[in-house]
């Protein structure tokens, strides 16, 4: 119990030490993670939650992600918020290509992560088919707390230099933690 059957993404453990070798790089990473200029590529309903996360109650400016930049040249975090249709895909690709290194991509919502429940002719089943993605935040739309969790995960990844695609996981995961009171329907020997 507790094993993903087909793990396609790595669940990041914040305790892992980083890949940086010099102190300068880790200072740079500290500066980068707390001053992310974001490009909000907002298309759909998740945009409403994006507005809420930017709003006064859940404020992602506290995390340094304060400045929305409408130009990909001036931003380093691409928030892909909402469903990406096949028609929108070339535009997303071009925006990503115009961004300068270092750049990160955050897939906000289930439609951006995997296409959502729009399994049809017009939806791209996840932006990772088009651009590499760093953090996936599932939810339809995700709660602002989940978004902040994903942003903090991205900041951890920036600090540690990890570029593997990662998924926001709950801080206390009922799948892996047997003490959280999940009802066991099968005896461990039958699992």
């Amino acid at each position: 119990m507790g094993q993903l059957i087909n793990p396609t993404t790595t669940v990041l453990d914040p305790a892992e030490t980083g890949f940086f070798t010099t102190r300068l790089e880790s200072i740079l990473a500290w500066a980068q993670k707390y001053s992310l200029f974001m490009y909000p590529f907002v298309t759909a309903c998740c945009g409403m939650e994006f507005m809420a996360v930017s709003g006064p109650r859940y404020d992602f400016a506290r995390f340094g992600s304060e400045a929305p930049r409408s130009s990909p040249r001036q931003s380093d975090l691409l928030w892909v918020v909402g469903t990406i249709s096949q028609r929108q895909a070339p535009i997303l690709r071009r925006i990503y290509e115009q961004m300068a290194e270092p750049r990160w991509v955050l897939a906000f919502g289930t439609c951006a992560s995997s296409g959502g429940f729009y399994d049809n002719y017009t939806t791209v089943a996840g932006i990772d088919k088009i651009i590499p993605c760093d953090v996936y935040i599932p939810g339809c739309p995700p709660r602002p707390e989940a978004v902040l969790d994903g942003l903090m995960l991205l900041q951890d990844k920036i600090q540690s230099g990890d570029r593997r695609p990662s998924v926001v996981k709950p801080r206390f995961d009922p799948v892996t933690d047997p003490t959280l009171g999940l009802v066991q329907l099968r005896r461990p020997s039958q699992a």
Binding site: N6, T9, R87, Y121, A125, D128, I130, I131, P132
Partner: protein, 199 residues
Amino acid sequence: MAQKLIELVRNEFSDSVLDSYSQHGDETVVIEPESWLALGKFLRDDPGCDMALLVDLTAVDYPQKTPRFEVVAHLASLRLGHRLRAKAAVGATDGTGAQIDSWSGLWGSANWAERECFDMFGVDFRGHPDLRRILLYPEFVGHPLRKDYPADRIQPLVAFRDAENIEKLPPFGPSEGMSFGRKTHDQWLTNRDAADDDL
């Protein structure tokens, strides 16, 4: 209230009206497609109808019927308060030959509504000033709301990345899922090919 409206239409188009009925509070009139433009003019201009608002114009695909597509227009009169649904059937069983006159000269809302109908069903509106796709991109081939277009056939504009672990996992394998119960529309999918099952 719209019964009078149906009588007016029937009197005016006595030889083209195929059917008229009232169902769940909606009045419907079915007319031959050749009289579509004349019907539109009559409904807009006649003071007894005065249907200034074209609420919606769309089509429905009945693959087992001939003609196959039914162009459905909903109209409303703001002054008189009555509503009407007008229908006309066009198109052969294989989807070709679906042509009908455009109402874009009568109502401004018909412009985009007919473009969407063309985009989704392939119905050609004669006399439309700019009949091109509206919801889909010009490179798209086919008309997705037809019953014989598989819902998951994608036509990507951007080549997908060559990376690991980004395939779309289907919710069910071919031998899983519910084989009984609801009727689906898969019986009309005659042109499904191997490419539809990738990604």
